[in-house]
């Protein structure tokens, strides 16, 4: 029987050719990677800088000696005007951090109180005078109807849900939208709570400020006040023992965002990029967590375990795509 013998030279040549092909492919891949790296290096060096964006967003120049930011007033823990005219709260600190990122030191930041119904058109108030504001940081939930009205929102900087608050001695059960039926509720006119109350056919009265709602609650005209849990928490902490929070079941997230300008205004897109980058930096630096701990972690035990004041994990915000 003839046995075919393997030619060692031929086998070696085949192995050599195979290895050669592999190495050639490897070197080609290396050249491709080198090209990619060169293109990336050039692209990154050519990416717009924060300075370009500030100019594009009309935040430079003699017309912008200060930045005017609209914040709510009368929301303890969120934004409250103190007797000396300064503001304090989570939103105020977020606004200051955003302004700092936009190269406005605290002394170049001017706050204006903004009513809930004036947030879309960005009209703040200084006393009786209405002033246009550059940004709105005012417990402003991101919703599609508001976007349709022309609001340009930043990424969300706080996640909370709606809850209701009664007087502390209220002994009824409020655990669902159904439990609210037949009772009178107070909420803010133009808030995200309003359409839900309408949809569930719950009797309610609308007020311009939560302090007005609380007055109605104290004098017995309404059973409960409905708003975002993070907002209600501030009142429960301010007047400990007076109020009680109730979880009315899972509702949609209230995602608070910053209104940077009307969608038809050309500078809004550049402002949105900058504010998103500022929020990214707020989270990255750990400042967001510090603010959360200062304003909400401390409030949680007072509010009780039924209602979560706000989500304690920092929001996920994409890394800015420009040079800083």
């Amino acid at each position: 029987m003839l046995r075919r013998r393997r030619n060692p030279d031929r086998t070696a040549r085949r192995i050599d050719a195979f290895v050669g092909t592999l190495v050639a492919l490897f070197m080609l891949a290396l050249l491709a990677l080198g090209t990619f790296a060169a293109v990336q290096a050039v692209t990154r060096a050519n990416t717009e800088s924060i300075y370009d964006l500030l100019a594009e967003a009309d935040l430079t120049g003699a017309d912008m000696p200060v930045i005017t930011i609209g914040v709510r007033d009368g929301l303890p823990g969120i934004a409250e005007r103190r007797p000396d005219g300064t503001y304090k709260g989570f939103d105020v600190d977020v606004a200051l951090a955003v302004a700092k990122y936009l190269k406005f030191p605290p002394e170049k930041v001017r706050f204006a109180s903004i009513k809930i119904g004036r947030r879309v058109e960005m009209q703040g108030q200084e006393g009786s005078r209405f002033v246009p504001v550059d940004l709105v940081v005012a417990a402003f939930s991101i919703t599609q109807p508001r976007k349709d009205e022309g609001v340009t929102f930043s990424e969300a900087y706080l996640y909370t849900r709606q809850a209701v608050m009664t007087l502390a001695d209220y002994d009824g059960t409020l655990q669902s939208e159904g439990d609210l039926r037949g009772k009178k509720i107070c909420t803010l006119t133009g808030s995200t709570a309003e359409p839900i109350l309408v949809e569930n056919e719950i009797t309610y009265i609308g007020r311009h400020t939560l302090n007005d709602c609380i007055a109605e609650l104290r004098n017995g005209k309404v059973t409960a006040v409905r708003s975002d849990a993070a907002i209600l928490a501030g009142f429960i902490v301010r007047d400990p023992g007076d109020f009680k929070a109730h979880d009315i079941g899972p509702s949609a997230w209230e995602r608070w965002g910053i209104h940077v300008g009307h969608t038809t205004v050309p500078v809004s897109e550049a402002r949105r990029k900058l504010v998103d980058a500022a929020l990214y930096e707020l989270v990255r630096s750990g400042e967001w967590q510090r603010l959360y701990d200062a304003y909400f972690s401390r409030a949680q035990p007072v509010v009780g375990e039924d209602v979560q004041v706000a989500v304690g994990q920092p929001p996920t915000i994409a890394k800015p795509g420009f040079r800083e």
């Binding site: 050639a24 990677l33 090209t35 050039v42 800088s49 300075y51 120049g61 994409a318």
Partner: protein, 331 residues
């Protein structure tokens, strides 16, 4: 006859040597053209006033990293070809390599270490390990034990030490979604374990003949781009008295290109030239130059990955960042 052809080809290329001094001049012209926002009159004004030394120093800074790059790439290709070609001296790159003294190689490593951005030092490590490995293969007949030491033990140890230093930065880059930076920090060094091997002759010749030219063109393109972008004049802001009909001061940001006893010639960031009377200027300050602003904020041992070891840490940025005049806002 053949040698005549070779000689003739050599003579044909002498024009390249003759025009080579003109290349920096063309680069400098391009730089001024870019600085003046592609405006002919502004270009002429800049040429009239800008110190040629400033431009030359910008050119030197721009090409500093290319010298070691060219030397190390040529050395690597030549070292690979010498291992596989029967007559290595027929390769142009091998002949160039033969003329490069050893101290130039070591100096190039040192220069690259300080002149390359930190994010690209991974490529330097790869080249260094590959070159050491290839050098050991050239000497394997005299010292056969050196090959496993230089081609396996040394790279593995060096790569492990390197990973130890850059791992946190690579993880941070990954978390930030910067896959390019993560790959740039991690991928090149292990490739040295392949690059330090003897390549099959055909593959080596085919790739290095075309690849060498390709790498050259690529490096030249990057060099040209980076040079045009490199800043020549410092960014400054000048605060001006109110113009007629206005009550508030103004501030301009840009470059001062000339000052005399009556006027300041000022080039704004958008390329507009202004002539400012000296008595209208209230104050001026140096600003942060955002054309140098890094894309990534990741640092390795306290230094941004887009800086070189030669560059400072940019501590001044914090101070310059808050000066309102730098954003066109009067104090």
């Amino acid at each position: 006859m053949a040698s005549d052809d070779v000689r003739a080809r050599g003579y044909d290329k002498e024009w390249a040597i003759a025009i080579s001094p003109g290349v920096p001049v063309v680069l400098l012209m391009l730089k001024v053209w870019y600085l003046s926002d592609y405006n002919a009159e502004t270009t002429q004004l800049l040429i009239q006033h800008i110190n040629p030394l400033a431009l030359l120093s910008a050119l030197s800074l721009a090409i500093l990293w290319t010298v070691p790059t060219a030397v190390l790439v040529v050395r690597y290709i030549a070292a690979s070809l010498k291992l596989v070609l029967a007559e290595p001296s027929r390769s142009c790159l091998v002949r160039i390599d033969a003329r490069i003294p050893a101290w130039v190689t070591w100096s190039s490593f040192l220069m690259a270490l300080f002149a390359w951005e930190i994010q690209y030092l991974s490529i330097l490590l790869m080249l260094a390990l590959a070159l050491i490995g290839l050098a050991s293969r050239h000497h394997r007949t005299a010292r056969p034990w050196i090959v496993p030491l230089a081609c396996l033990c040394l790279p593995v140890l060096a790569i492990a030490a390197y990973y130890g230093a850059i791992w946190p930065a690579a993880v941070e880059a990954w978390k930030e979604g910067d896959a390019y930076l993560c790959a740039m920090l991690l991928a090149p060094p292990p490739l040295a374990l392949i690059l330090n091997r003897r390549l099959p002759a055909l593959a080596a010749r085919a790739l290095f003949d075309g690849g060498g030219i390709y790498i050259g063109v690529l490096l030249l393109s990057v060099l040209l781009f980076r040079f045009v972008q490199i800043p020549v004049l410092p960014v400054v802001a000048v605060e001006l008295r109110p113009s007629p009909g206005s009550l508030t001061n103004t501030a301009l940001t840009g470059h001062i290109i000339h000052t005399d006893d009556r006027m300041v010639t000022f080039l704004e960031m958008n390329g507009i030239v202004r002539f400012l009377a000296n008595d209208s200027v209230i104050s001026q300050t140096v600003c942060r130059d955002y054309s140098r602003a890094p894309y990534s904020r990741i640092s390795i041992v306290g230094k941004n990955v887009e800086r070189t070891l030669l560059q400072g840490n940019g501590h001044d940025n914090d101070r310059l960042d808050i000066d309102q005049r730098c954003y066109g806002r009067p104090l």
